[in-house]
Symmetry: C2
Amino acid sequence: MNSADLGRRVGVPSTALFTDQYELTMVQAALKAGTASRRSVFEAFTRRLPEGRRYGVVAGTGRVLDAVENFHFDDEMIGFLRQQRVVDEPTLQWLADYRFSGDIWGYPEGEVYFPGSPLLRVEGSFAECVLLETVILSILNHDSAIAAAASRMSAAAGGRRLIEMGARRTHELSAVASARAAYVGGFDATSDLAAGFRYGIPTVGTSAHAFTLLHDTERDAFRAQVDSLGRGTTLLVDTYDVAEAVRAAVEIAGPELGAVRIDSGDLLLVAHRVRQQLDELGATGTRIVVTSDLDEYAIASLAAAPVDAYGVGTQLVTGSGHPTCSMVYKLVARAGSAEPDAPLVPVAKKSLGAKSSKGGRKWAARRVDEHGVAEAEVIGTGAVPEELAGRELLVELVRGGEVVAREPLEAARERHVSARAGLPLSAMQLSRGEPVIGTEYA
Amino acid sequence: MNSADLGRRVGVPSTALFTDQYELTMVQAALKAGTASRRSVFEAFTRRLPEGRRYGVVAGTGRVLDAVENFHFDDEMIGFLRQQRVVDEPTLQWLADYRFSGDIWGYPEGEVYFPGSPLLRVEGSFAECVLLETVILSILNHDSAIAAAASRMSAAAGGRRLIEMGARRTHELSAVASARAAYVGGFDATSDLAAGFRYGIPTVGTSAHAFTLLHDTERDAFRAQVDSLGRGTTLLVDTYDVAEAVRAAVEIAGPELGAVRIDSGDLLLVAHRVRQQLDELGATGTRIVVTSDLDEYAIASLAAAPVDAYGVGTQLVTGSGHPTCSMVYKLVARAGSAEPDAPLVPVAKKSLGAKSSKGGRKWAARRVDEHGVAEAEVIGTGAVPEELAGRELLVELVRGGEVVAREPLEAARERHVSARAGLPLSAMQLSRGEPVIGTEYA
């Protein structure tokens, strides 16, 4: 049982099959060759940010810890692998006993990152580390993409409320992880009940056009909603004529009406009109929620509009143009023999082109200028230079197979706010640009 | 237990919380107003295809049927909703008893679709149908987006083998659904073990750079792999120097070497060189697998290259630029009272702009020309014109709450091949264009 979750059953019984077949066949070949137990260091990192993005946001770390803890092959899975002849009997025996017993360090959740940042460093035997590749990348690539979009949207929204409403636009469990990542990135609530159930994220709801259309008149629908849900409810006012709907809404709910939602039309124009009308009707405290294919640019363009909350769906859960990150999981060092104290040798792919990578077990630190503003992501192997002491980014997450760094989701959410605030101001620009600080190799 | 699955535990115990909160509050208000039991018809459709796409592919129908069957609120869920005060006690009671008891018709999985196609038609009481909105849309929007990308890739690949390798680029369960949708869209296999476990999709694997780097030399690595996995294995030849690696590979495995994988560089050029080298070494039967950020355009550009199989990751699982469809789930007709035989009244949102929709319970049929080639998607309400008899697209999926249309995944895969073959040839063009047939309202 994870202390950070609500003790609720979720997901598959084990994460072990969220794995590419080649991880298992590599384990088989390495077991036979006697190289499976060579001490190894894998790192997850990205060679570049999505085009035009100025920073990345680490999200999913908490889910990675759950995944590592729940990574074990039960009898049914072993039976499947045997039946499909994926690997041989000695490997099946090894898999049946598998529990990750190594160490993991990484950027804490909510932290920002840049090209080359060693987001996660996994150490142990080759076999135990290589098995985790696919599930670690699935989680980090997905969740970080959503959190990055959420962070841009929350920067654009200023202090206004942001509601995640994208469940219907993505896979039903991706939706739950998206709500979680959006919360890390600065969203305030979600419409997704499973995200509330699983992660304790505040859930909210408004009303749909279907509810209005179910009733004989719009007024009947409003009356039904207010009767049952109270005056604090949010009425959807764009099924027929907005001005008429706003009039009816205030007439039925009174000036205590909680909010109205606008889901179509020119939101800037309509929001102004509706605000004026609400004020004229005395409903000065009634809030305006807008939805309808919003992204960070649309949110920014509504900065001057009398909008109280944004509901964001499609563009959030699809990462606003970048539905995945390009994180990879690479062997960067390994021992030259299976001896436990054999020294680590840095390794790296040497092929031409953009896919080469830097060998060696890495540390990372963020150098700041005299005002405390970040000026470089410094990455190195070996000893950390004295001037960077206290600025190191990796924290211990798993020690000898035991998760040691669980935290409430709020902690990641708060960390993101302060990490982003430590970047140069240009990080908040929505326009396309280069990473806001450079990556330096010490 | 679903007859179409392998009887394996997967997913959450129930799909009922993959639901936006407003579905539940609307049910509460409708229960109180006495309108919850009005007979209603909801339809899932899309107003447009993703920009430039010529056809859509229905995928996820089988998963929708599973989701409907498993949509029930267990005690823990009810407890959560009570604790969070999402809805009142009478509504909790109603939810605790909830089982969908209505009817569902829809386009069969693998079928192609166009703007306006009524992909799923859900009939029952308002309350029982509205609850299913989010999970139905999650599944159809996600799975159809992946299947559409897969279909374009399979068209571009001609008869060459396509392997889904995108698990690491998307949410771990989205990956499983993606492998399933890709299979429907024409892929042959997946690297994702969970997809093999859950859906019986053939799984395959090659090898990673980490395996080569683990060993003291590339030759050691190749020897280890061939020793353990046999000569039929796929060796990765681009860790250091490709020509040297190919020479070593054939030397170690002999001309019976199964395949080599190339994962970087100018694939067209490298594939030609590798083929020539393999042939010179007598390994004329050794296949060439290419991977590395492939999409349908890259696949098409390799048509003249001596490539035997494509491994596709990122671009497949992110829908090749369109990670979601824009399907919506709208109330199109409902009774004017709660009487079981009250006639259905068509309803539709009337707001200005692109978000209006057509009311009424719909049928759809594909009209063909004298050569049997599709020429229009015809949609109507009321009686189907005689000339379209036998060309109707919706099939019965659920009758009185019971799933009546389970089928093996192969059936959907085969249906897609024949549905696509029935379209005008321009459907296969990868360039941006309009939907290949128009939508007509009868």
